[in-house]
Point group: C2
Chain length 413, copies 2
Amino acid sequence: METLDRSYFESLDQVDPLAEFREQFDLPAGHIYLNGNSLGVLPKAAKEKAREVVEEQWGQGLIRSWNTYDWIHIPRRVGDKIAGLIGAEPGEVIVADSTSVNLFKLAAAAVKLNAGRSKILSEPGNFPTDLYILQGLESFMDGKVRLVTESRDCIMDAIDEETAVVVLTHVHYKSGAMFDMAAITARAHEKGALIIWDLSHSTGAVPVALNQVGADFAVGCGYKYLNGGPGAPGFLFAAKRHLAHLEQPLSGWFGHANPFAMRDDYEPAQGIERTLCGTTSVVGASLLEVGIDIMAAADMNLIREKSLRMGQLFMELIELRCGQFGFGIVSSKDPAVRGSQVSLTHEQGFAIMQALIARNIIGDFRAPNILRFGFTPLYVRYVDLWDCVDALVDIMTHDLWNKAEFKKLTAVT
Amino acid sequence: METLDRSYFESLDQVDPLAEFREQFDLPAGHIYLNGNSLGVLPKAAKEKAREVVEEQWGQGLIRSWNTYDWIHIPRRVGDKIAGLIGAEPGEVIVADSTSVNLFKLAAAAVKLNAGRSKILSEPGNFPTDLYILQGLESFMDGKVRLVTESRDCIMDAIDEETAVVVLTHVHYKSGAMFDMAAITARAHEKGALIIWDLSHSTGAVPVALNQVGADFAVGCGYKYLNGGPGAPGFLFAAKRHLAHLEQPLSGWFGHANPFAMRDDYEPAQGIERTLCGTTSVVGASLLEVGIDIMAAADMNLIREKSLRMGQLFMELIELRCGQFGFGIVSSKDPAVRGSQVSLTHEQGFAIMQALIARNIIGDFRAPNILRFGFTPLYVRYVDLWDCVDALVDIMTHDLWNKAEFKKLTAVT
């Protein structure tokens, strides 16, 4: 076995087939950024794109840009590019609104498609907005559907003939645990249920094959692994077989068959456009497109391979060098059930993460005791992992026992 | 009476107290832009703001910017600034999502607040997305509420004890006709109904005094008179007296009392934040803030005075110089019922507008025969009106009878 030292990690970078992608990102000098699972990094090309969209398209083109720059088709154009990242067809994905709003549309549509069934199934500890949106739908439908949550180990058995729709996040935001999308989708269909996958922590991070597994619906986030910028629009996927029957309540004018006919009666567009509501952020979707274009140029299998290797090496380093400091490793060592992050536990987790951030090594903390480290193979190097753990050792050896320093860091949220 | 010639219009500009605002906008050279009611003009400061938000806040600050640049409070901070433009209090307005999505939230909330009443009242020919969203709500609530539309002349009488909520657009997008907000709001309350005002064509264009008239709810658009940029986030207003009871179905994590506690159960925020859903576009809301800051520095009474005078002069010029060309004037000459635009009709309307646009005089066309001219006093000069009508006379005198030229223009949508 190789010696795990800094030069080993450097040697991995030297043969990394994805190494050249790092140049396309504008990482702040001297930073190690392990939080792309929360907010992705600025692509260099997005700077020029922002200038172009604001100064030329908006400033000079004004209203004409709806045609000349094809603003009108941005949701579909960028959606089609995302389709290629998640195993979907063009015409099955649209970029619009937020992940939360998109989930509401699809959950409401799924309940309507499966009318007569009363159960929406999810897991406790799912990403909060997913549960909150489903609770909103439940309350809004006055008891016609109810949200039931079952722990992930029991989720397969909890899918039954009462289940209208299963709503699960493919890769868990906190633990990084990954569901078997094929098995659960098959189970849902076996029981006559529909399924919505939240791909917020999957798209651009792990291979996703929505049509291969026969998924019905999905939503996802633009500002994490897709590097779309803060508050970038989200996206949604609806399998082609559902489009003709899909009715969603947020039936705004951009979802109309002919928005600019300005008629009084809603008539849904034929295709995925029927899931649109109001005007999509042109600036937001244009910046998102830059991130997606970079992602689309990379080989997802190479991304996955590097990301898993990084996760494995990170855990090995933690065990090797931080064994005595009381960290727990939440994430599985089995690559089949691990996304693109590794989560640790430590009772001093918040303060430890603050100490790392003070050294420009950026992961994040999730209450009560989780330290999250996200691996984004397009701009994180192997050597960054070494340096991160090296800093962690230093912090645990020196800073941790300096209570005053820790108290100060804890105070700076 | 003054002679209506070009020098008269120039003389009005010379004494215009709002003239200096034009310098703050980046109008394309040689353009007359009379379409700010559809997409506002780029403020010069928005160019630097886009650079700062993208390159510094996102690029350099990364995830830390949620705190250091206070991204977390953008929806409320920008909302508070809008409050000042529409006669609301801080804490009654939030910036988020699109106008359409916001209308869905409030219409659903209003129906719930007024449970037992079955009617949602609007007018035929209201801005399409308003009707479509209400139809979506109707269909989604399975007959518990029904959308009824009554023509604007009969709207007062149509408000009855069955009416849960009245949804009207204050200034009509097509005609520019303006409702008497105080009278209709009072009538709604007299009958126990709630009211939602769509302020898309009002905010930044005409004085609005939501609390003075006792309005319950409102929505509005960021990319028209507020100059927020294409697809800028919308906003919503909820009167303080309703906040504690307001339940809206799009209960995403940003509407939670404590979003980052990441709990499983939704608990709405105490204040207006409970109307938030997912992550707001940071770039979009930051650009919108630039437009609002300019608007907030202007005196709304001066804006209204200039806008009405422009409308009046424009109609006078049309009558004086275009009388023989077959134009109809849709907009009222009564300033009490006219917003900030003048709409004309002409059977060749589409081609005429194309001919104007070809000369960089930009209004817009709405089927079947409406030419819209929007007056945005912060960057449109009186002399622009003269030059616009002058071009119109030229087009009608020469181009109109050149059928080949017109055919060409008609083909270029």
